[in-house]
Symmetry: D2
Subunit: 207 residues, 4 copies
């Protein structure tokens, strides 16, 4: 999937808004994805979800003050969507969960061929934590993302967690472990390949 | 991806072996997949896992008496792999879990380009139960299958469960609920489309 | 389990605030718990979480405007805590997830004997959905609640979901299915028994 | 609580049978539990599940050759049950899953007061892996064990996993990390306290 240009959007589900002033470990993992995607001719934009008023709900627009509709529009415009989440208590964050709930509306937002707005888009997961929980975060996000129409290429996650009961933040690691770099590279290569194919050859009608 | 012929293998993770003589609800769900796949020019074979001596372990061959190597060979030969499981306690069965553990060996069984034997294959999930648990079964199976290299097309599951605390078996339903037929149709159309694309355009090197 | 008086607090994690004006299915399940607990000499208060500004974070007080500290105080004053959540996409809601994240602070809020404020309190789960997901909701909530110090009596969940792909709301059922009433009764009896015992006989030092 | 003698049984869900001759990392974690329980006047016996022919199924006796009935008898005789599992693919092993399926039969094996054989018994989880997955293993085991009647005291798990993508076995660590020792100590103290209380004050009728 050669020189086709693709776009990605990364949703950072950290609990901290930018105004907190502290860097986000999830953002550091997204940096890795951005660099790998760029090499593959795919530009990535980022949304720090905690900076926006995304109202609870399962519709595409929850009314006055809801900032989801614009984020939704940008997701629909992208070829690849990266769900980023810190690990808390071994689970995805409430912030990324909210966004998945909002995408539940895709289920009834199909075209004349029965296809959701997410059909043909490829999802990736980026998750980091002090310790344990990345596999479960990816399991929950994969299932929710696939339920609302996203495709998954092999090894669709970039993750890091420390040893059990560890307290080191990913953002404070001196260097990126080689296993992490390799995993992000593989995930990006596969996602870009699949997204390119699906863009050129969209899913047929599912009616 | 038009008239390209594809093959599928369905792994039935029911706890009952064929010798028990009773039909399997998971098998009835697989019947639906087989019919849909056939319309799409994809033939499906079936393995009732409980009929075989699949030894516990995480290697490709656990030695004397282990019947996994032959099943593994058939999986590697297929384009689409369907992981079938009954729901017990809201979770996938121990029988399908064992097979996933055996596929863990794919991680170190890569070609010169770093690709597992499962790269380019598309996974589907088929799961049924008396009540509640299908989403979690698909979450666990999606994550394990994706970890060992399978791709997922949108809505990659066909499932049925009864109302909370229900006791009806899927095999005993008078007729297939329309929602189930629709879901299996969508899952099959998307999986076949993706498997065809990936067969013609394999994932590039991930080294 | 005599006449000792106990108190319970139910956290309703519905996505809808009271101002939406529509009844909550989760609330109907909590009605059942309230009635059973009352028979057992346990009074239950309710917090509709979406009515409050509970800031994202993992501390006990996230500063200006954060309404968590008062809810936290009420949780710490109760003997039994009921985590209520609708099922969305087979998973717990973002609203109840946020509250669990805030309780993560219990981990470092221990007394001189190493015991969290939740030690000796018993947790229950109440969850409802149109379809499938209750077992997984309880699994995630059990783990998170237990990690932050709550105890669980047998069968610690009251749940209802409809048949696969159903669309009926629990609040619209003509009558409560007998299995649901029975489950809530059992859950309440066991939780009250355990909470009474632990109140009289607190956990010893874990240092 | 005091000097009451209690008994525990640990179910080791490693994929390797004893005849493999290699030590089990899960066993090393169980050693820690055994030592802590002994200090609390609780003796622990161990069952290495892979050494037995535990047939797939959800009944208490699956017929000729099934070695579950004897293990079941020993579980029912114990006050505390420890579910031990290695982490594979971020999930519990197929071997421990099988045992949980067999305990599903407890649901219909109630006394005249509606209580399962597991009522009053306290469950613990012991899990280890090269990397990531312990929280999810405990979530799944907590839910399954609680569904079949076990109680959970606070912090009911002892676990260790290495850093993301690590490959070190727990059995090969030079020394036990202090966090692990502390967690096992806390889990044991709380479980013994609760099991003692519930033995002296059994759950009342739930009919």
């Amino acid at each position: 999937m050669p020189s086709q240009e693709l776009t990605a959007i990364a949703l950072n589900g950290t609990l901290k808004s930018s105004s907190a002033g502290s860097p986000s470990s999830t953002d550091r993992m997204l940096d890795l994805f951005e660099a790998e995607l760029k090499k593959l001719n795919c530009t990535m934009e980022r949304v720090r979800l905690a900076d926006f008023n995304i109202k609870p709900g399962v519709s595409s627009d929850e009314g006055s003050g809801d900032q989801w509709p614009d984020i939704r529009r940008r997701i629909v415009a992208a070829d690849i969507v990266i769900a980023g989440s810190p690990v808390w208590m071994g689970q995805p964050s409430s912030v990324i969960k909210r966004v998945l709930e909002r995408m539940d509306a895709f289920l009834s937002d199909t075209d004349e061929s029965g296809r959701m707005p997410s059909y043909g888009k490829v999802a990736l997961v980026a998750t980091v934590g002090n310790e344990d929980g990345a596999h479960h975060v990816s399991a929950e996000l994969y299932q929710a993302l696939n339920d609302v129409g996203f495709s998954l290429a092999p090894n669709a996650v970039g993750y890091w967690v420390g040893e059990a009961m560890g307290s080191t933040d990913f953002k404070d690691l001196d260097s990126i472990p080689e296993g992490v770099s390799t995993a992000v590279h593989m995930a990006a290569v596969c996602a870009v390949h699949m997204a390119g194919l699906l863009k050129q050859h969209p899913f047929p009608s599912v009616n």
